[in-house]
């Protein structure tokens, strides 16, 4: 019987090695799998490359917590502002940043999951972010080549999960989660609700084929509201 549910965060994160590339879902606080990220920080796995839209917002939790513990070597993201921990480390030269336009980041991840090694996009042509990249004209317009992104591990958050690993989301919580779920060797989802009953197939957003493990974690409403107040 297929059953992707695991009983604890520690079990969910088993087998992650030093030096892994880890995708972390979320846009701001919504959809960010904070319980998984905090548990990862506790494990002390080092030399991580993080792929995420933001560099987090609170020093106590999430990506800044990983950074604060010195576990992150590099972050690939579109908008690292708002994280004092990242700022200090970056200005001190202790962390590497690869800045990627948000839509290019999303498409690099989507392609990583879809078996497409590279693609051409008009985004960033004529800007410093296209420096050193292959350019090519199609139908009279110039595009830049971008490489797909894959990860060893994706940590994602969903609203509901079933034992087959099917996921559904809530509100603006999809963001990077469905595409990151496709782009990693090991995809681990935390969900507010995990059930033995199947999710209605019509309501499944991420099919279970992309998911390796699911763990039940109650959504942290207070943390989400605190992040909204800080925005």
């Amino acid at each position: 019987m297929i059953d992707k549910r695991v009983a604890s965060l520690a079990q969910a994160l088993e087998g992650i090695a030093d030096g892994s590339t880890v995708m972390i879902g979320g846009f701001g606080a919504v959809g960010q799998p904070d319980a998984l990220v905090d548990a990862l920080a506790e494990l002390g796995i080092k030399g991580l490359t993080i792929v995420a839209n933001n560099a987090g917002w609170s020093a106590e939790t999430g990506i800044p917590r990983l950074m604060d513990l010195g576990l992150v070597r590099k972050i690939i993201c579109s908008f690292p502002k708002g994280s004092t921990v990242f700022r200090e480390l970056y200005l001190a030269g202790k962390i590497e940043l690869e800045l990627v336009p948000q839509g290019t980041l999303a498409e690099r991840i989507r392609c990583g999951g879809a078996g497409v090694p590279a693609f051409y996009t008009p985004t960033s042509v004529g800007t410093p972010l296209a420096d050193g990249k292959e350019h090519r004209d199609f139908d009279g317009r110039t595009y830049v080549m971008e490489r797909a992104l894959r990860a060893d591990v994706a940590l994602i958050e969903a609203w509901k999960a079933d034992r087959w690993g099917n996921l559904s989301y809530r509100g603006s919580g999809r963001n990077f989660n469905p595409i990151m779920a496709m782009a990693a060797t090991l995809t681990i989802a935390q969900a507010n609700e995990v059930s033995t009953d199947p999710i209605d197939p019509e309501a499944v957003v991420t099919p279970g084929i992309f998911i390796n493990r699911v763990v039940q974690v109650e959504s942290r409403v207070e943390a989400l509201l605190a992040a909204q107040r800080q925005a």
Binding site: A29, S172, A227
Partner: protein, 226 residues
């Protein structure tokens, strides 16, 4: 509807007391029924509240919302629903939710009718600089600005006419690193509305009480009548 930039502001633009709501309201007048519109963070977000009630406009948020409504009452906040500025929003009838791959396919794929962005500089050829003020900025961030600038059917810039110290923001050539070349179609400021046609700024209208000479003096490129 009246010209919406008030005379006090318009006659003393250097005083720095720009009525930002009035400029947003002026832009909102030109948004057409049925358009799908993305509003950048900051001053452009004001446009959402300025659309006439009889026009149905669908607002897109890059984090996966079409049909975004205004902010909720404090007791009706949904913790799981935020806009691109990470603030609480609501969903209107007919709205939909989707992931980032689809959201930026809408943007890059030319499905968004209008994107309203702020800017540090706009050049007369439509070059847009709005993501960083230096090629070696200490902590750069880009977000979705570059995708929006190249992908939307129309890019309108909503901004104050000059920078804080009075330097022109409408210029011959951007000195800051570009967000996208040749991207901007129109610029709305407290002094008027300007369209980019054939590599130059063409005046669509000037705000009440503003003369051509006044606005030209505060603009870093030649202005042309329409």
């Amino acid at each position: 509807m009246n010209q919406s930039v008030n005379k006090t502001t318009a006659s003393q633009p250097e005083a720095g007391k720009v009525d930002r709501d009035a400029v947003a309201r002026r832009l909102a007048r030109d948004v057409e029924e049925g358009w799908y519109v993305n509003l950048g963070v900051g001053m452009p977000t004001k446009v959402a509240d300025m659309i006439d009630g009889d026009k149905e406009v669908v607002f897109h948020s890059e984090n996966g919302i079409l049909g975004m409504g205004p902010g909720p009452a404090p007791d009706a906040i949904d913790p799981w629903l935020v806009n691109a500025g990470k603030k609480a929003v609501t969903l209107l009838p007919g709205s939909s939710l989707f992931h980032h791959g689809d959201s930026f396919a809408m943007i890059r794929g030319g499905h968004i009718d209008l994107c309203v962005l702020g800017a540090f500089e706009v050049a007369q050829n439509g070059d847009l600089a709005n993501w960083t003020t230096s090629s070696d900025e200490l902590l750069p961030a880009v977000g979705g600005a570059m995708d929006l600038a190249v992908g939307a059917k129309r890019v309108w810039v909503l901004m104050q006419h000059t920078a804080r110290e009075g330097e022109p923001k409408l210029v011959e050539k951007c000195k800051y690193p570009l967000t996208a070349p040749g991207a901007v179609d129109r610029v709305y400021t407290e002094l008027g509305v300007f369209e980019i046609i054939d590599g130059r700024f063409s005046i669509i209208e000037l705000a009440n009480g503003v003369s051509f000479e006044q606005v030209q003096a505060l603009t870093g490129a030649p202005l042309h009548g329409n």
